[in-house]
């Protein structure tokens, strides 16, 4: 009986079909998981990107701070790689209020602030961490 019976071939095709159906099902599940993971990664990437952009150092953000300070000679600033320190030993409440409001309306990581009332003016020290 050297010739292969067609039913054996048919059986082989049935097995192959079942195997492919099973494999397709597994791969479909993999695709579902991969899509879900991809969406999560994309979502996380966008959120992380925007939050980092908000709090990390950027030249524009630093320039914005300098412009705010430049108009007033009483306000000094020092900057380092990871910090930006603003200090005013004798400024009016109006100037301090305007400066603080503008900084607070932006997104900075303020790690230290000290506002102290002097006789008629105010003492201000603010530390922004990059």
């Amino acid at each position: 009986m050297k010739k292969i019976n067609p039913l054996y071939l048919l059986l082989l095709m049935v097995i192959l079909t079942l195997f492919l159906a099973y494999k397709t099902n597994i791969v479909k599940k993999e695709l579902k998981t991969a899509t879900k993971k991809f969406r999560k990664t994309k979502e996380l990437a966008l959120k992380l990107h925007s939050i980092k952009k908000a709090y990390d150092y950027s030249e524009i953000k630093e320039k914005r701070l300098i412009i705010l300070i430049k108009n007033n000679k009483n306000i000094k600033y020092t900057k380092s790689r990871d910090k930006f320190i603003i200090e005013a030993k004798d400024i009016s409440a109006n100037v301090a209020g305007s400066l603080i409001t503008k900084i607070l309306n932006d997104t900075y990581n303020i790690s230290y602030i000290d506002i102290k009332k002097l006789d008629k003016k105010l003492y201000l020290k603010m530390e922004i961490k990059w």
């Binding site: 991809f38 992380l48 602030i113």
Partner: protein, 308 residues
């Protein structure tokens, strides 16, 4: 009628008049069909194309065969065609009737292809012999021949000509098998295509993921990125809370003479000092929802500590 060919192979002549004795299960059988199980005809056809001949065979046998389903086979002999017609299911039934297990059958052959002048007339039993007439092997009564050769069946030199019986033809006919082949082939194509398509999509997703990691300068693993995001989220939450409390403090309506002396934010703690405060509860009530961790009131000086 059979004889031991070697330890694992036996040649058996299958004939209605022959009773076959027990064959061991590990023995393979070469089955030679007696002419009672097939029709044989000699034809002279203008074509030598095997495919064409195979197509012609049913019509060539049509007038000789009783109604039923037959398989056909042929071979060339001196420019002529020796053609066979046989009923698969009938032969299978006969094999079973003789007590032969079909799984033991190694090959099935026609007596026509296995017997030659050197071993004819071959004695089947006491009454019948195989002989040749006009190059066709036939079964005749023993009286019809002059001489019977004492040929042992194991001495027969076997040809390469075999037939394959359609064992399952009664369960499913060939047409249905081809239809099923088609259906399953279609399924295989569909699943194969779908499998490759899905795999490509997964690959594309991986590429897009790598692109996102590169574009947004992400850390190597999702776990690291999640931790980093958590850290930033913590900073964001803290800043928002700090700003909210600060705006609440600024919004407090002080009585005459009351004022804020100092606001200090250091190491996640906010310290506020109010002076000339007559009614400390007004301030405390405004800020208590933010969780005052420490408070001190002495000489109209109110000091509050809030954890950010």
């Amino acid at each position: 009628m059979f004889t031991r060919f070697n330890q694992n192979l036996q040649i058996v002549l299958l004939d209605k008049n022959v009773k076959i004795s027990y064959i061991e299960k590990n023995t393979k059988i070469v089955l030679i069909l007696s002419p009672t199980y097939y029709w044989v005809k000699k034809f002279d056809l203008p074509t030598k194309n095997k495919r064409e001949i195979r197509k012609l065979l049913p019509s060539l046998f049509e007038e000789f065969l009783p109604n039923g389903e037959y398989s056909y086979d042929f071979y060339f002999e001196n420019e002529k065609i020796i053609a066979f017609a046989y009923d698969d299911s009938y032969i299978l039934k006969e094999i079973a009737k003789h007590g032969i297990d079909i799984s033991q059958v190694k090959s099935i052959k026609f007596a026509q292809t296995e017997f030659g002048d050197n071993n004819l007339a071959y004695k089947i039993d006491n009454k019948t012999v195989l002989t040749k007439q006009d190059s066709i092997i036939i079964k005749v009564p023993i009286e019809f021949v002059d001489e019977v050769k004492e040929t042992k069946i194991n001495n027969i030199k076997l040809s390469n000509h075999n037939i394959a019986l359609k064992q399952f033809s009664k369960i499913i006919d060939i047409k249905s098998i081809y239809i099923l082949f088609g259906v399953f082939f279609m399924f295989i194509i569909i699943y194969g295509y779908s499998l490759s398509n899905i795999s490509k999509k997964i690959e594309k997703l991986q590429e897009q993921k790598s692109f996102i990691f590169k574009k947004y300068n992400l850390l190597k693993t999702s776990f690291q990125n999640k931790s980093l995001y958590k850290e930033y989220k913590k900073i964001d939450k803290k800043q928002k809370r700090f700003k909210e409390i600060l705006s609440k403090i600024i919004m407090i309506r002080f009585d005459k003479g009351e004022f804020i002396d100092e606001i200090k934010f250091q190491k996640n703690k906010l310290y506020i000092t109010f002076k000339q405060i007559k009614n400390k509860n007004k301030i405390i009530n405004t800020l208590k929802s933010y969780g005052i961790t420490k408070q001190k009131y002495k000489n109209k000086i109110l000091t509050l500590e809030i954890k950010i």
